[in-house]
Symmetry: C2
Subunit: 165 residues, 2 copies
């Protein structure tokens, strides 16, 4: 049981992401945002629990990235599309590029030896920021929202050094 | 360019998955199914192209799994929920377990040394079968659809030997 405690928390991150998709599909964008924030919390907890219990594993690390791409790549993109149906193909394209940049970043992170800080913006931060923008600034012009989603995507794949907290 | 050819095909797999989500959200389930099948094609091609060009990489392998969880885990689950809104929490739960089982399978696959066959049902097969069931048998009783989604999830995480084609 102890061996799988951290992996169960990682899977709870995925459950939050899937619930966020479900909430966005029902037009409940407040819930979609809350669930993405809960996923950030789970993502933060699983590593700490794994280290505290001494059950860090390669499988856990892989599972973590697979859950992250759903909760912080796909869920905010779907929120972006469904909260702005008038955005059509423009926002769809930006959401897709956001998720693709997130997936690329996670893949690069997984094959990079551990170091002090991060290269580029971590996907949980980018995903939470996009969800916050969509929810709290519903009147933002579409071109600006599209631009900000693209900026977050570029920041994720960039090599800008970001400190770990 | 040659170095990234296979990774670009892998990202096309993700694009098909994201387009499938978009199609499901617009109620175009035929398109959602076609796009999942196109993602299967891309998933099959990227590895072949990488081997043919001699540009297989650890990053490509990681990216492949991250795209697979979206195209064959999340996209069929969303199709399941949205094509059967009367399924409510029952189908939501089954879709979520399906995606979680797919993520676990991919993580396990990534940390297992390469061998002749597969352990358990590969996620592209499970995702395509679920999408085909949802589209071609719209009158299926909900309990049966839920049971089949759970069965596919169990087959993915099982250790049943499946030959490679």
């Amino acid at each position: 049981m102890k061996r799988h405690a951290a992996n169960l928390i990682t899977l709870l991150n995925l459950c939050c992401g899937m619930l966020s998709l479900f909430a966005s599909c029902s037009g409940r964008f407040g819930w979609a945002l809350i669930l993405i924030c809960l996923a950030v919390l789970m993502d933060n907890m699983d590593g700490r629990v794994a280290r505290a219990l001494g059950c860090s594993s390669e499988l856990g690390r892989e599972l973590d990235s697979l859950c992250d791409v759903v909760s912080f790549g796909v869920a905010p993109a779907l929120m972006l599309w469904l909260a702005h149906p008038e955005g059509g193909w423009l926002l769809f394209l930006c959401g897709m590029l956001f998720a693709a940049a997130g997936a690329f970043r996670l893949a690069r992170f997984n094959v990079t030896p551990p170091k002090k800080g991060y290269d580029g913006l971590p996907i949980p931060v980018a995903g939470a920021v996009l969800a916050l923008l969509v929810f709290f600034l519903p009147g933002m012009p579409l071109w600006l929202l599209a631009l900000l989603a693209l900026l977050l995507a570029v920041l994720m794949v960039s090599r800008i050094p970001v400190p770990k907290f």
